[in-house]
Amino acid sequence: MLKLLPLIPLFPLVSSVLLMVTTGKMPKRLVAILGAGSVGLSALTTLLVGLAFMESGQPHHQVLWTWMQVGTFSPDIAFYLDGLTLVMMSVITGVGFLIHLFSTEFMEEDVSYSRYFAYLNMFVFAMLILVMADNLLLLYLGWEGVGVCSYLLVGFWYQNPDNGLAARKAFVVTRVGDTAMALGLFLLFTELGTLDIQPMAAAANSQWQVGDTLPVLACLLLLGGAVGKSAQLPLHTWLPDAMAGPTPVSALIHAATMVTAGVYLIARTHELFLLAPPAMLAVALVGLITSLMAAFTALVQHDIKRILAYSTISQIGYMFLALGVGAWTAGIFHLMTHAFFKALLFLGAGAVIHCLHHEHNIFKMGGLRTRLPVAFWSFLIGSAALAALPFTSGFFSKDMILLQAYELPGAGPWLWAGGLLGALLTAIYSFRLVFVVFFGEAKTEPDRQPGLRMAVPLTLLCVLAIIGGWFALPLADVFPVAGEHHPSHLIEGISIAIPLIGLVLAYLIFLSGQLKIDGLVNSSLGRTLKKFWFSGWAMDLLYDRLLVRPYKGLAYMLRGEWVDVIYNSIVKVCQMLFVGLSHTQTGRLRWYATSMVFGVIVVIALLLGVI
């Protein structure tokens, strides 16, 4: 059964290629069957392979062929299956299939139906390659592949130039991180002589001591790549704009899978990070600061998808925090539960947007609780899991992260306190969303109800978002075993109470109105803060002033093409010579004869030494 492993990425690849070569001439029904069915087949195969893997319990390594051979560098096209890979594959194919199914109805009226599924299938293929690769080069191939698919899907409705701009921004900003990652790969290869992950980790452990400069440098470069892909500070600005794409795309790429690739990368190379404590601390700090900043920003947004986008940034911040404190299993656990409930929230938002004339502003919604019950229950369960209310999936994973952060010697309690503040904010903004959109008076009437192909994925994801916390992940062999936890009851109690406090606060402020915050919001400080947070801590403005404008200015200054002057003058000289010499070609026989005579005279004169 384990030999079926290469089939898993093959299904979506074949489907994608088929959809591409038929260029939209396939009937929609067939496109839907092919697009969603191929990922469904992958999910089934993943299940089979997963069962076989659980039985054997040994990591499975499968070499397909040697990719290239350059000196001592010979990366293989090879897959490596262990518990971590299996978790990622299950999320990608399982959640991916539900989102594909949802898309078949969501995109039904779009003219580019088949193009959409071609891109989406290609994305699933690239993402699978990313998580299954046994060497960092193949991983990098998948890494760039998902980047390209993200670009294509964010700019899917390219007729609107704003969407194209958002797509370019997503591509360019992540490219900054990818460059750092490529440098990290070069460094690792020159120092360790291999990019195969398992031998590389062994080589690193034998060559380097904990705290050496080189592993710190390599890990920081890898962190650069992870930060770009996972939309963490300071490269997070692309994700909110990436919401320009279709909503299921946001659910699949910008919530459940691609943006967690950075988390996967760090978890996959955790043996390197263990050699570099400063880099670990950097990961934790990046995660914590990002999660707090994004949570504050999510508090004041109007656009339903932007709220979810900032919430995604914030939750991935938690995962980074977990990785940074060495809580590898907790980080991956949160990755999985987050994939469930955030996909659920995004698909719920998609259903709302779909049924509400493409309305995005939450203040123009309201009272949808009775009008769109499916979306309401999805949102309620998704928000409960996001806010980490007790016994939802998010509760277990977030609790695990916070407790392990608390136990980190030194900065632990501070990280824990920061994480708790984030959890409080998370509860407030997620229930603000629920209360504003689904309670109160109706402002827009839905013009239709979600159909079966939307309701079924939502229901399944609801179930997963609730029970996801009870899944036992097969990660014990992958990561070093963490010590026993003996948190005091007080710490645990606070962790449970904080989300509930957030829920009550959100209820008092946004639903019952008993807690008046108008005075606070309308004070001058409140208004400034709100504006500042609304703009995402003015990061876009900062980058615009700091990078985009100087770059444009430089381009404007260089528009005269100074460098090209040298090359253009060479061309000019050649052209002049050509024009001059072409005058000698008169086509007249006598002229040629005379030229020859003079040439002979000159040669003879030279031979005789006259001249």
Partner: protein
């Protein structure tokens, strides 16, 4: 062959004069037939030089080369006259300056 003999210098002078006549004709004449005649003159001027040199050294080589030049000249005229006919047909004139379609 005793008696009065023509000095070699004189023959070579004649040859050079003939050659220059032919060359000038080649460079200045426009009529393609006269160009061919000029070429003929030049060939024969060199042939004279060969014959004279062969006589001076008492060897047959000069006359052998003369025979060769004769053959070359005959072949050249055969090709040349063919070209003349084609030029006349195509340009309706024998003026070589009219046939300048290869000018750059």
């Amino acid at each position: 062959m005793d008696g009065v003999s023509i000095p070699l210098d004189h023959v070579l002078l004649l040859s050079a004069l003939l050659f220059i006549c032919g060359l000038l004709g080649l460079m200045m004449r426009r009529n393609v037939i006269f160009i061919l005649i000029s070429l003929e003159v030049m060939l024969n001027s060199s042939a004279v030089a060969f014959v004279a040199a062969g006589a001076r050294w008492g060897q047959a080589d000069g006359q052998v080369i003369f025979m060769l030049i004769l053959a070359v000249a005959a072949a050249e005229v055969a090709v040349g006259l063919g070209l003349v006919i084609q030029i006349q047909r195509r340009f309706k004139s024998l003026d070589m300056d009219d046939a300048d379609r290869l000018r750059g």
